[in-house]
């Protein structure tokens, strides 16, 4: 077979994408496509793992046995998502450990929402309802992403996320229909998480540097603003249903567009948190680094034991 030139390879690659044929790990792909996916999927994996911390913060203080078990199971799911996503990154030739080191050194990012603290039990409700809700908006279209392993991982992730979103909403519903103290706790959590949840969709389309290329590659199917609007449209009636108020004086239904209009996001805050100035950035990364450092001797022991075992078996066989 004669070697194809790069333009021909690119043409065939784009043709597959245009025909909705999945790109698989062994297929040829442009380096930019590979790098974009490594960046995006590893960022996504890091978000799952760092995302365990704010909710993990309430596991030992959950108010009853059922809530404790559900929350534990939920946080465990996030760890599982982290695992499949790191595996998806590895199919692109990236090394899991190096990817994690990039997180710890600050080179790789994760979702900024996890840099906000969880201060009350109601935050477990708000995080499930809003944060997992926003994550689902972002992730459902990824089930059709052009890269096969990522798309398949997302199918499973989305199923679990939708359960998480429901359990979060159920916590909020219970609080909102509880005592005045409980309702106030729920409203306070909504007040603190509403705007950061809207920020989860990323900068406005006009300021989003990756959007167009990612859409051409069918890694991304909708723009940040489209997804944000969809989230607002779905979430506002849910808040009304349980009698909580969205903390946005500019929020109102627009008959003409058939969507909610909403106020301006504080982009200064968004960029500050991305750049490390959020309330918990340092705590989150320190916790991940500490887990890795404290676990070093354990991983070394497991490797040493595996080697010894292999040697013993080889000796037996010879």
């Amino acid at each position: 077979m004669k070697e194809l030139n790069i333009d021909e390879l690119k043409r065939r690659f784009q043709e597959k994408i245009d025909n909705d044929i999945k790109i698989e790990p062994k297929d040829w792909m442009p380096d930019d496509y590979r790098q974009t996916l490594i960046r995006q999927i590893s960022q996504h994996a890091h978000s799952e793992v760092v995302g365990m911390l704010p909710e993990g913060n309430w596991i030992t203080r959950a108010p009853n046995l059922r809530r404790k078990a559900v929350l534990l199971a939920k946080v465990q799911d996030e760890a599982g998502h982290g695992l499949y996503l790191y595996s998806a990154v590895e199919t692109l030739g990236a090394d899991r450990e190096e990817t994690i080191d990039d997180l710890h050194s600050g080179k790789a990012k994760y979702s900024s929402i996890f840099n906000y603290p969880t201060l009350t039990w109601a935050d477990m409700g708000a995080v499930g309802w809003l944060v997992d809700g926003a994550a689902i908006m972002n992730q459902v279209p990824l089930c059709r992403c052009s890269y096969g392993p990522y798309a398949r991982a997302m199918v499973r992730v989305c199923k679990e996320e939708s359960f998480h979103q429901r359990q979060g909403f159920e916590i909020m519903m219970k609080l909102a229909s509880g005592t005045p103290e409980q309702k106030a706790m729920a409203q306070d959590a909504l007040n603190r998480f509403w705007w950061p949840a809207l920020m989860m969709f990323g900068p406005n389309d006009a300021d989003s540097k990756h959007t167009q290329q990612s859409m051409d590659w069918k890694i991304k199917r909708h723009t940040n603003d489209e997804l944000r609007q969809q989230f607002v449209d779905i979430t506002v009636p849910q808040a009304e249903m349980i009698g909580l108020e969205i903390p946005d004086p500019d929020l109102k239904w627009n008959e003409e567009t058939g969507h909610y209009d909403f106020g301006e996001i504080n982009w200064d805050e968004f960029w500050q948190v991305v750049q490390g100035n959020g309330p918990c950035n340092k705590d989150r990364i320190d916790a991940r680094r500490k887990a890795k450092e404290d676990g070093m001797w354990v991983r070394e022991a497991a490797n040493a034991y595996a080697e010894k075992r292999k040697a013993r078996l080889a000796k037996k066989a010879s």
Partner: protein
């Protein structure tokens, strides 16, 4: 008899509750992601067991207390767990050794309780036994890996064993509660439990190249409600919501 049964159910339930709580502290901080998931699994199983045992304890007591009332609204002196399970997590080696010494007791215990004359206990034991077999497999494998891994891991896990040994001795604490229930057939074949535990423990420690400590002292108290300083802090977290916001539904 009811009183002894209630007391024994608290022992079973509180062991699961407190160890489940301790393991849940690891969530998000495990040495590798796979192990984070494994420790959370153990915790979930134990909290499930605690729920079943405490639910039944409440029914046996007959004062209308639910599993949550028992888990969240007793004072430290009313908890009946082994001191072993309230020991702090320490490093991963301490957590694993604590788990192993406990699993090596729980598996043969549930194997016996499956034949209990009390049908509810037998049913909970049957479900818990399936889980506990996995727990024991997991903790035994890690004891061996760490014991026979590197010099550092060997030292750490040996030290964990030395520290926990006197607490493990409390596993075989017995009093009138056990005597009453043995006689009623609620606790069958208990006389060989210790031998089973020793068989599991000694064979795993041997494979792990670890030395059995020669400390024969028993650190007891948990079964009678006399705990270490650590339980108070566990309860401060565990009970925080129920104490701060009494009589609410969550």
């Amino acid at each position: 008899m009811e009183k002894a049964l209630f007391e024994y159910l608290l022992r079973l339930g509180d062991d699961s509750l407190i160890l489940g709580h301790r393991l849940s502290e690891w969530c998000g901080h495990g040495p590798i992601l796979e192990e984070d998931i494994a420790l959370t699994n153990l915790s979930l199983d134990l909290i499930g067991q605690a729920t079943s045992f405490l639910d039944y304890a409440g029914k046996v007591e007959g004062k209308g207390r639910s599993e949550d009332d028992l888990a969240f609204l007793r004072f430290d002196k009313d908890y009946r767990n082994l001191l072993l399970v309230e020991r702090p997590n320490g490093d991963f080696g301490v957590t694993i050794m604590r788990q192993f010494l406990f699993d090596a007791y729980r598996k043969p215990l549930f194997e016996r309780l499956v034949h209990s004359s009390d049908e509810t206990i037998a049913a909970i034991a049957a479900k818990s036994l399936k889980e506990t077999k996995y727990h024991l497999k997991h903790s035994s494998e890690w004891v061996i890996r760490l014991g026979d891994g590197t010099e550092e891991s060997h030292e750490r896990i040996q030290e964990a064993l030395n520290d926990l040994w006197k607490y493990a001795a409390e596993i075989f604490y017995e009093d009138e509660v056990d005597a009453t229930l043995k006689e009623a057939g609620v606790l069958p074949n208990m006389e060989t439990l210790r031998a089973d535990w020793e068989e599991i423990v000694y064979s795993v420690l041997k494979e792990a190249t670890l030395e059995t400590p020669d400390n024969n002292w028993k650190q007891e108290g948990g079964r009678k409600g006399l705990h270490t300083e650590h339980l108070g802090y566990i309860l401060a977290e565990l009970q925080y919501m129920q104490r701060a916001y009494p009589n609410m539904e969550w």
